[in-house]
């Protein structure tokens, strides 16, 4: 067994909802609600789930880009939520985030070379020559022509900007990379190239990935394990093959059935979920999924199912799954 690099315990991120002229807090958006899991060194753990279920918030809370409101984040057995700003800054060298929205995370006044070398200068005392060389190397790897390194972000297409963002995170060769939808703006061909790059770099530098995506096809391809989120909670977590071949949670089953077809003449059978995703400010009692679950029973309405291991390496939060 390889060692645990990251351990998340009962992590919580609630955003206050303010109202009225005095801006009183009248409730909370429970974006991440009692989430626990572990990531082993050198593995790829993916998180999937519908839009708004809390994936980005979870990723950002782990890196303390957002301050969690509860729980623990253990990186190499140390709770980084206790770290001072200064310790945290050192830590960042080893924990990097690829942002979901490259447009707002890239400074428009910096050239590509400046953008990609900035993290190097921040974290290492490094000569310009060495920095340039590392920037060249990574730009080449993400498929951006070197002659474009003097350009500014707005001079690129959407997919090219996403690759700048990836280069910026990977140039540091961090231990843990939280990649928030790193390939969603890319076409299949470049998507495949970038995924291959992520896998190659993982082997070369022993990287560990927490990979956030809504694309079940992409996730299937690159993950060792997959966690499924719903309304701020993890509902199911298992080895990739087990999750895709034998999903246990009704929500996972519905998600998998919704993957689109690849042929205009084929129409696929889908499990259509009834109703809308409930509001994270006022999550339902009992199982958060019960209102939309085709199998829900009375118990599901009242009792919150625990997240338990039901098979070897397979966790699920559902009353209907037998242990």
């Amino acid at each position: 067994m390889s060692e645990t690099l990251l351990k998340v315990e009962a992590l919580e991120k609630f955003f206050p909802v303010k109202a009225g002229i005095f801006k009183r807090t009248k409730g909370y958006v429970k974006a991440v609600n009692d989430v626990s899991f572990e990531v082993k060194a050198k593995e790829t753990l993916s998180l999937v789930g519908e839009s708004g279920c809390g994936k980005s918030t979870l990723g950002r809370s782990i890196l303390r880009i957002l301050e969690p409101t509860g729980g623990k984040v253990l990186f190499n057995d140390k709770n980084i939520l206790d770290y001072s700003k200064q310790d945290l800054r050192k830590m960042r060298r080893d924990m990097q985030l690829v942002f979901q929205d490259p447009y707002s995370s890239l400074n428009p006044r910096m050239t590509v070379r400046e953008l990609v070398s900035e993290p190097l200068y921040t974290h290492f005392s490094i000569s310009k020559m060495e920095a340039d060389q590392r920037v060249d190397e990574i730009l080449e790897k993400v498929g951006l022509p070197l002659e474009h390194s003097k350009r500014y972000p707005h001079q690129f297409s959407g997919g090219q900007r996403q690759r700048i963002s990836i280069a910026r995170a990977l140039v540091l060769k961090p231990k843990l990379v939280v990649a928030d939808e790193p390939v969603s703006a890319l076409d299949v061909s470049i998507q495949a190239q970038i995924l291959k790059l992520l896998v190659d770099l993982q082997e070369e530098f022993d990287l560990t990935y927490l990979f956030i995506s809504h694309d079940l096809n992409v996730v299937k391809h690159i993950s060792d394990r997959v966690g499924v989120m719903y309304l701020g909670k993890i509902m199911e977590l298992a080895d990739t093959e087990a999750l895709y071949e034998e999903p246990l949670h009704p929500y996972t089953k519905a998600l998998l059935s919704a993957v689109p077809t690849s042929d205009p003449l084929v129409k696929k059978e889908r499990i259509i979920l009834k109703g809308d995703v409930p509001s994270p400010t006022d999550p339902p009692s009992g199982c958060p999924f019960h209102q939309r679950c085709p199998l829900a029973e009375e118990k599901c309405q009242n009792v919150l199912p625990e997240f338990v291991q039901v098979r070897p390496k397979h966790w699920v939060a559902c009353h209907l799954v037998e242990q």
């Binding site: 980005s56 022509p145 959407g158 809504h214 690849s262």
Partner: protein, 327 residues
């Protein structure tokens, strides 16, 4: 029936330092009323620039339309309208879903402000009616707690929620033409399906035509009637959706289809090599550097855009040669 949009020989250039380089060239296409028309192509192939040109939103300089016409509703050449006339059409008769939501949403205004702004400008509803319309559209794009969301700022929403707010803004005025640039990239499959249905509903209820720009062949397969495949700034193949998937002609299209990860049972395929940069565009066919079927002539001369079957255009020497032999 007369097309709603007709692009003729569009060319876009970019001025870099002293040079003028070509980024988009020879774009010809027609979108019918109620038609959903797709553009696919790899990253950097010129899809967004083409759509921005239609909207009159190219950042010029350095970008400029150097040639061509874009007719809207038959007689109006959008490229010849004044910026005032364009503003009246934009967000009303033609609206656009931008590829990057944060570039289109104003971080300093609430979601309500941004939705109302578009309604105020283009309709004569009372404030209460407008508010009701806003809540309704937020519900329709599948975002829970609409009343609360209206009061929030863009940074308080998730990536997919922002994308859906932008879709809501674009649909609010029931446009005649909706340009959707990668509208569902940030959305999971369930919500994607819901949004695609919503677009079809818009088409059915208001005869809206949709230009669907995407790199996702699955989205094309599910929604479009006709498709143009772009490569390095040019349309290399154009036909109906079934022919494209079942009888592709251009080697590039064939490669794209092969790299489509339908069920991803086997290793990821990607077309070897990469799209040439504008500085290093090949002289002949722009795909020659990556084409498995390249011939001598492909390096030297650019092929013509020819009708190779009924309603099926392709820009490739394989077919041009074949046709020449028949003459």
């Amino acid at each position: 029936m007369a097309p709603i949009l007709q692009i003729k020989d569009l060319q876009i250039d970019v001025k870099m330092d002293e040079e003028v380089l070509n980024v988009v060239k020879n774009i010809n296409l027609e979108i019918g009323k109620r038609e959903i028309y797709g553009i696919v192509g790899e990253s950097g192939s010129g899809k967004s620039l083409t759509s921005l040109a239609i909207m009159g939103l190219l950042a010029s300089p350095p970008l400029q339309v150097s040639k061509g016409e874009i007719f809207f509703e038959e007689d109006k050449d959008l490229l010849k309208l004044s910026s005032r006339e364009l503003r009246k059409i934009r967000g009303n008769k033609i609206s656009m879903i931008f590829q990057e939501p944060m570039s289109a949403l104003d971080p300093l205004f609430t979601i309500e402000d941004q939705l109302m702004e578009s309604l105020k400008f283009h309709t004569k509803l009372s404030k209460k009616e407008m508010k009701r319309a806003c809540v309704k559209i937020i519900e329709k794009v599948g975002i829970p707690r609409p009343e609360q969301i209206m009061k929030e700022y863009p940074h308080q929403l998730s990536g997919g929620m922002r994308q859906r707010i932008m879709i809501a803004i674009a649909m609010l005025c029931n446009p005649k033409l909706l340009i959707a640039d990668e509208p569902t990239t940030a959305l999971d499959v369930t919500i994607q399906a819901q949004i695609l249905d919503l677009m079809k509903e818009l088409r059915d209820d208001f005869e809206t035509s949709i230009l669907m720009i995407t790199h996702d062949l699955g989205v094309i397969a599910e929604t479009c009637q006709r498709v143009a495949v772009m490569y390095a700034g040019e349309i290399v193949e154009e036909t109906d959706v079934v022919s494209l998937f079942h009888r592709p002609k251009h080697p590039y299209t064939k490669g794209l289809l092969k790299s489509m990860v339908g069920d991803r049972s086997d290793a990821l395929y990607s077309i070897p090599g990469k799209v040439p940069s504008v500085e290093q565009m090949p002289k002949g066919c722009r795909f020659v550097t990556r084409c498995p079927e390249a011939m001598d002539i492909c390096e030297k001369v650019s092929p013509d855009d020819l009708e190779v079957a009924d309603n099926h255009r392709c820009k490739c020497w394989l077919y041009q040669k074949e046709m020449a032999n028949h003459v």
